[in-house]
Amino acid sequence: MSHDTEGAARNDRQRAKDRIITPVKRPLTVAGWLSVLAGALWPIQAAAIAWAVSEWVDGASAVQVALTAASVFLACALLRALLEHRSGALLFAAANATIRRERAHLIDREARTRTSAGSAQIAALLVQKLPLMQPWITRYHVAMMRVSTLPFLYLLLAFSQSWAVGVTLLVAGPLIPVFMALVGMAAEEASKKQMQDIASMNDMVMDRLSAMLDIRLLGATDRAAQDFATRADSLRARTMEVLKVAFLSSTVLELFAALGVAMVAVFVGFTLLGEIGFGAWGDGLTLGEGLFLLLIAPEFFQPLRDLSAAWHDRAAGYAVVADLDALDAAERVAMLGQAAPSEPLSGPLALCTEGAVVALSGKDVRIPDFTLSEGQSLALVGPSGVGKSTALAAIAGLAPLRAGTILVNGQPLTEETADAWRAGLSVVPQKPHFADETLAEWLDPKAIGTDPSAALAMAGASDIVRRLPEGLHSRLGETGGGVSGGEARRLLLARALLSGASLLLADEPTADLDEATADTIITALLAFRAAGGTLLIATHDPRLIAAMDTHVEVMA
């Protein structure tokens, strides 16, 4: 790895910390100290037991001594449990507030200013990935605080009893930062690899499932299943190669912990037998001191093991922050206004463009100058891809201008006028999106409550609704299942007509339609105009162009 990328990675980590950890630094620190305090109670519990056993050997009543030790032990245990419980509550609250904040931010931003990121990608970040920060916030920081305090306390206690045990732990000690780095990297690698592999196995399932209709129709079910099994197996083999190494390094940490305990046990045992004469202060170890050392030895290593377990939580958290940062940096298309309900703009309907240029990433679209007054119809014409749809979007206040003005009812289209302007217009897009709602709700998004039958009849869509099993109460689902492309277009038109708008913007309303359906659409549009409506249509269909009063050309 070059120096630069390393520096960049460190920078990213710092940014991630600033964004996520810094705002909750205080509760995290408090929770960390509570947890450290809980850990510091263990030596008292260990001492109680050690004391009791050494009293036994001295011939005291075993039960009485044990009762005294047990009450100390249990009191400490209760205190420990309470401290951990409280610490956990603080940590959860911190993580919860962080997730809520980031989620709210995304919800309020992603529709208003659109990026090129897919909606599914943003939804995955919002729903699945943001909660992945929780283990990072709740575990890593506390584990780090414990690791930088508790082992030193235990080391001090070990040295106070026996320098040899202290040295044993100390030898394992300096190795631990080394192993932590090693294990940390390997664990990070392993968890990343595992996440990736499960993700790519899932991608493969998604890919095959979405092609399942084709696969079935080709009679390829068995072949596809077999092929999937083969790929999944080679994926497994590769994953295991990585895991073999990754697990090995975390095993080394466990091994050191276990060996540390074993060495302490053996050393203490031999000392108590008198076979080892060094390593203790004064005249050797007592049984109580020996048991105490045995009981605190595993706890010396525990914070290290916790930290290595929390290591990949941090990596997962950083990955989420990287996604958030990337989305922050993405280029955005803003809208005009607040999209809030508003009274329609006053004055007679008039639309006039003057040198308007739409600012879209990488490409400027010039809207030709034209004037459209109430009751007129106008076609914006030009080959596909020239920017007709973009022009319509800008006129509806869905994309900002870079230069020039759009005058609506005599006033410039701005943040202030956009909501009122939109209140009087309606748009027929090319492709529908059916959310999870009934057709009736979809047709009437403003919930005005008008009976849709007239609009449906005008758009030639009555028979579509009749054919649907539950009529207006059918839920079409996101792909518009059960409705063909031409039917969807007629429903979109009905929706626009139902809104009661006096200006209708339509984007290629007859593209890709058979002649009969296209005729229905043109008839409906002309009926709208005959009833006093105003029409602005982007199209390259000659029949539709001919049906409009005038047309202007959009130039590249």
């Binding site: 075993a62 909606s119 080709l218 994953t239 076979e275 909501d419 999106h433």
Partner: protein, 540 residues
């Protein structure tokens, strides 16, 4: 619970031996951990006693100290082996599980198969599969290992120390520990199930909001939609808080339980010591064992608190995987499925608006206004849509066994889908062919030239065939269909999205590729093309 068990059974069956070995090693790890602490405690106390009694020389130090070292090394090794084996077994199980899932979904009817294209349905399935991935590693193996370990420890402790100590440990951990876990499961099922539901709605809502952005702005309902998503998040947060409270509560009681079990074992040891039935060294064993056994219990917490999510996923997927019912396609070979042909014309249609027989070698253009049911008619011929208006060789398509029907009828759906992989992978879905045959098919759909400029048959495509244009994807899909050389070739709008010259080449190429076959093509425009020998219309 029944559904979780079904799924668990399915996962374990993927590789029983590997699962079994993994379980054995999980038990070994727990047992060695318990033995290490128990033996060390005994060893230190015993040496202390021997030292005080001045019989240090006579004390056999080597076997126990060797035991301590062996257990320390053995536990680390067993842990390593356990991790490798259980992960390997789990990965095998996950792969097998996904294959079963693919097969089970393949048996659905046309509507259900088309629904699989929707983002919502797919993410739902994947979220469920993910939830079930943890069943083995977080539930089955830890529960089995904990139970077996506790029972073995009970036996050994009864023998070494006394049944009272052994019973106290077993009883407390099994009964009180079980109660804590049951209570945790009970308290988390509802919120974790609800959390999952709310998150799915949040995901769906976010997708709707972003895709529907323009319409929402135009209808001035974006603020309302945003407020709705905020409310969903609030509910999600509330449920997450419920879950956290339950989990932390269980953690609190468990750490008290461990302390109580350790102290109860300690006191029971003291009683036995006072009775003179054991020495001090044996009396401390119970305490150490109880402390070490906590590991078996604590690792169950996470799996249990996920139970609600796992359960609702299992409820959805288990029936799917179980469905042996032959759907519209008639996958299984029951009495009605025939391997042999019936008698009658190759294809006869008795639709309310269309009655006709069709024969091999014909090329039929089928047209009609949108929504009249052209696609449904093709799906019925392909056996994916139940109905009574179609007979192939005198029998309804669904009456044939899946394999024989697929050899007779192949179909290009209107919105065709490719899979990630190479061009060769996509074409190989139709069977095994030589490169020459593949190139010939690509030539016939006028795609060979485009691909030669890239990596030929090894050109890689992304998910859903990303990397090819809409028209190229369509032609590749047509190539897959002509490779099959079925008796009946159904094409739903084969030239949509193709420019006139390419459409011309494709229609000729298809006819040339399968000269003997009956071709039925739904055409919006271009029905007048000379390649068609017959034109039929479907009217309202």
């Amino acid at each position: 619970m029944r559904h979780i068990l079904q799924i668990a059974k399915l996962l374990v069956q993927a590789d029983r031996r590997a699962m079994g070995r993994g379980a054995l090693l999980s038990i070994a790890v727990l047992l060695m951990g318990v033995s290490l602490l128990g033996l060390s405690g005994w060893f230190i106390t015993a040496t202390g006693l021997a030292g005080l009694a001045g019989i240090g020389i006579a004390f056999d130090v080597f076997r126990p100290s060797a035991g301590v070292r062996f257990l320390a090394l053995g536990r680390a090794a067993a842990r390593y082996g356990e991790r490798l084996l259980t992960h390997d077994a789990t990965l095998r199980a996950l792969a097998a599980f996904r294959v079963d899932l693919l097969r089970s979904y393949a048996r659905s009817d046309a509507r259900a198969l088309a629904n699989l294209r929707s983002e919502g349905a797919l993410t739902r399935i994947i979220a469920d599969v993910d939830a079930l991935d943890g069943v083995i590693l977080r539930l089955v193996l830890p529960i089995v290992a904990a139970l077996v370990t506790h029972i073995l420890v009970f036996g050994v402790l009864s023998w070494l120390v006394g049944w009272s100590v052994a019973l106290i440990i077993l009883g407390l951990y099994l009964v009180a520990g079980g109660a804590i876990l049951l209570r945790l499961g009970h308290a988390t099922v509802a919120p974790s199930r609800r959390l999952e539901e709310v998150e799915q709605r949040l995901r769906r809502g976010a997708i709707d909001m972003i895709r529907d952005r323009d319409a929402l702005i135009l209808s001035a309902s974006l603020p309302r939609k945003e407020a709705g998503l905020h409310r969903l998040d609030q509910e999600a947060r509330a449920k997450a808080a419920d879950l956290d409270r339950a989990e932390r509560g269980a953690g609190f009681w468990m750490s008290l339980l461990v302390a109580a079990a350790a102290m109860a074992a300690f006191l029971a040891g003291a009683v036995l010591l006072d009775q003179g039935s054991i020495d001090a060294a044996s009396a401390v064993i119970g305490l150490f064992v109880a402390l070490a056994l906590a590991e078996a219990l604590l690792q169950l917490r996470r799996g249990v608190s996920d139970l609600g999510r796992v359960q609702s996923a299992a409820e959805r997927l288990a029936p799917q995987l179980q469905s042996v019912r032959p759907p519209a396609g008639g996958q299984t070979s029951d009495v009605a499925s025939c391997q042999t042909l019936g008698t009658g014309p190759l294809l006869s249609i008795h639709h309310p608006n269309l009655r006709a027989d069709f024969h091999a070698g014909e090329a039929v253009a089928l047209s009609g206004p949108s929504g009249v049911g052209k696609t449904m008619l093709l799906m019925e011929i392909a056996g994916l849509q139940p109905g009574t208006s179609v007979k192939v060789h005198g029998r309804p398509p669904v009456a044939y066994a899946e394999d024989s029907l697929r050899a007779m009828v192949s179909m290009l759906p209107q919105r065709c889908a490719l899979v990630a992989g190479t061009v060769r992978d996509n074409l190989s879905l139709s069977g095994s062919f030589s490169d020459a045959e593949l190139w010939q098919a690509l030539d016939q759909v006028a795609l060979a030239e485009d691909l030669r400029q890239r990596d030929g048959l090894d050109t890689t495509l992304g998910e859903g065939g990303a990397g090819l244009s809409g028209g190229q994807s369509k032609r590749l899909a047509i190539a897959r269909n002509i490779l099959i050389k079925s008796d009946i070739l159904l094409l739903d709008e084969p030239t949509e999205g193709l420019d006139a010259a390419t459409a011309e080449a494709v229609l000729h190429g298809v006819r040339a590729a399968v000269p003997e076959a009956l071709i039925i093509a739904v055409m919006h425009s271009g029905a007048q093309h000379p390649v068609f020998t017959r034109r039929v219309g479907l009217s309202r």
